[in-house]
């Protein structure tokens, strides 16, 4: 699992470097096509961008909370939720983040903030309504993992680089359109065509890099969440519930898509997965199942019940108290009702993997609505 975290981090760094390379290529292409000294453009663009990024980064939490309509809550307003977040703050060794609730039927959650000292974890009322305690713990752990891995910072960087690529290309195509290219009319036509193609394709490539980085951060956050809870089952069951639930968060946009635990955008138009900000849920569930097969350490149990023998849970049916991999909480109702919120509503269990399939290490996962079923094979 530590290896998975390291590999994912390397991939993220690679993607950021790819973004820089792309930016450089675009600058060169524009320079070739227009015959303009790009250092002049860069001189203006770079400080403006840096200023913009700094402002976005510094106020990222407030911006995200405003954009999603989240309201901050205190410990007394939702003691159980506070308790779950507190547990994750303790197991990550980070300061207690602020907690916010988004009044939305769709189950989802996100983390924001420029650093662990100024972090906020937001969950929707829909999430609180359908998740059991261990599942909610898994979701909170995933959000805490984003704070641990400082994903908000990484994503701000990536979004800025990709934004600059789009900006430069936009500028260049406008200059081309308005005849700014006259100065370079004596250039080699092949160079000109290649340059124009680069300018047209670069913003697309930038989007791809942005989406790929976001996807790898999501996968990493799942791994880190398991490290925080020592319990892949809770998060896996939570993701299965999200998979089964087709509602979509209303108060959101593409701008905040990368923040959420599950992609908040309508999944029916998932024609091209390369532009998705999140890996397919089925893939994330499959990798959590693999972790359940080989847990890193016994789950932390305050008062250990029967020795937990970690085996993959056969179905998505609600697990009994003290089931493998869960943290038995004596004296607490289960699932935990959140005051002021509706009680858990029954959710149709997601299509179970057959015991035979699980024992072979692969699982047939039902695809999201509208596409064909796929086999998810271990890499």
């Amino acid at each position: 699992m530590y290896a998975a975290i390291a590999a994912n981090r390397r991939r993220s760094i690679g993607l950021i470097l790819a973004g820089f390379v792309l930016l450089a290529v675009v600058m060169a292409a524009v320079g070739l096509v227009l015959g303009v000294n790009m250092s002049l453009v860069a001189l203006v663009a770079v400080p403006v961008e840096l200023g913009g990024t700094w402002a976005a980064w510094y106020h990222s939490d407030r911006l995200a909370l405003m954009a999603t309509g989240a309201t901050q809550i205190t410990a007394s307003q939702a003691p159980q939720l506070y308790n779950l977040v507190e547990n994750m703050a303790l197991s990550s060794g980070l300061p207690m983040p602020k907690i916010a609730i988004v009044h939305d039927e769709a189950p989802n959650a996100f983390a924001t903030g420029r650093d662990p000292q100024h972090a906020t974890i937001a969950v929707t009322t829909g999430l609180l309504a359908i998740m059991q305690r261990d599942e909610l713990q898994g979701v909170i752990a995933h959000e805490m993992a984003h704070i641990v891995n400082q994903d908000t910072r990484t994503m701000a960087l990536v979004v800025t680089i990709c934004g600059s690529v789009a900006l430069v290309c936009d500028l260049a195509s406008r200059m081309l359109f308005w005849g700014g290219s006259r100065r370079s009319s004596d250039n080699n036509p092949v160079v000109l065509v290649v340059g124009i193609v680069a300018i047209v394709l670069a913003p697309l490539a930038a989007l791809l890099i942005q989406a790929a980085t976001s996807r790898s951060r999501e996968a990493l956050a799942d791994s880190t969440a398991v490290k925080l809870t020592r319990n892949p089952t809770g998060l896996r069951k939570a993701l299965e519930k999200l998979d089964a639930n087709s509602s979509v968060v209303r108060q959101t946009s593409r701008a905040t898509a990368h923040l959420w635990i599950e992609s908040p955008l309508d999944r029916r138009d998932a024609t091209n997965r390369m532009f998705d900000t999140h890996p397919p849920l089925s893939q994330r569930i499959a990798s959590l199942r693999r972790m359940e097969g080989a847990p890193v350490e016994a789950p932390p149990a305050a008062i250990p019940a029967a020795a937990p023998a970690p085996v993959p849970a056969p179905t998505g049916a609600p697990a009994p108290l003290g089931s493998p991999g869960t943290v038995p909480i004596p004296g607490l109702p289960f699932p935990v009702p959140i005051p002021g919120l509706p009680f858990p509503v029954p959710i149709p269990p997601p299509a179970p993997a057959t015991a035979d399939a699980a024992s072979h290490g692969w699982t047939q996962v039902p695809a999201q609505s509208g596409s064909v079923a796929r086999d998810v094979l271990p890499r």
Binding site: N83, M88, P300, A302, I303, A305, I329, G331, L332
Partner: protein, 189 residues
């Protein structure tokens, strides 16, 4: 003349690189040790909270379950031993015993319906459970930090800085798991 200057420059660069590397390794070890200390302080806060809750719990049970004097005495003794313990290993072991004693107390409390209906008892039980949860998550972070620190001390090249930094391996916060499995009645609350 030019050749000797070049050799001197190369040697100077190498020495500078070695010094910088050493400083980085040294600082990393110190940082990891500080994290272990902070993680232990985090556990300590939760343990203190636990010790503070137990006398109230014992008092509230006494009124209802006078027959369970032995169980209550075991909890009181275990608490006293845990409060008096020093050193990570001893504190961890004493708290393992205390967890067992508390588990037995909650198990026998099942037999007293009036006690189970007592608001104060339920509140204390709830708080103790939440505290034990926090202890186990803090312990997890502490053990993670200790593992990273101990690995850094023993692996090359950070092991080179271990001596000058007076870095010695720290002890894991381990609960005596076998004891728990044998002694605690298998009761689900």
């Amino acid at each position: 003349m030019v050749g000797s200057m070049l050799i001197f420059a190369i040697v100077a660069v190498l020495v500078a690189a070695a010094v910088v590397t050493f400083v980085l390794l040294y600082n990393r070890l110190i940082k990891l040790r500080q994290r272990v200390k902070a993680a232990y302080a985090q556990i300590d806060v939760q343990l203190k909270r636990r010790y503070d809750l137990i006398p109230n719990l014992v008092e509230s049970v006494k009124g209802y379950a006078a027959h369970e004097a032995d169980t209550l005495q075991a909890v009181t003794n275990a608490r006293a031993a845990a409060v008096g313990a020093s050193g990570v290993a001893d504190v961890a072991a004493a708290n393992g015993v205390l967890t067992n004693a508390l588990g037995r107390l909650f198990a026998v409390s099942e037999a007293y319906p009036t006690l189970r209906a007592n608001e104060n008892f339920l509140q204390l039980q709830h708080e103790l459970t939440a505290t034990e949860d926090r202890i186990s998550f803090s312990r997890q972070h502490y053990n993670d930090s200790v593992m990273e620190y101990n690995t850094a001390i023993e692996t090359f090249p950070s092991s080179l800085a271990a001596g000058p930094a007076h870095a010695t391996p720290e002890v894991f916060f381990e609960l005596p798991a076998t004891d728990v499995a044998r002694d605690v009645p298998n009761v689900r609350f």
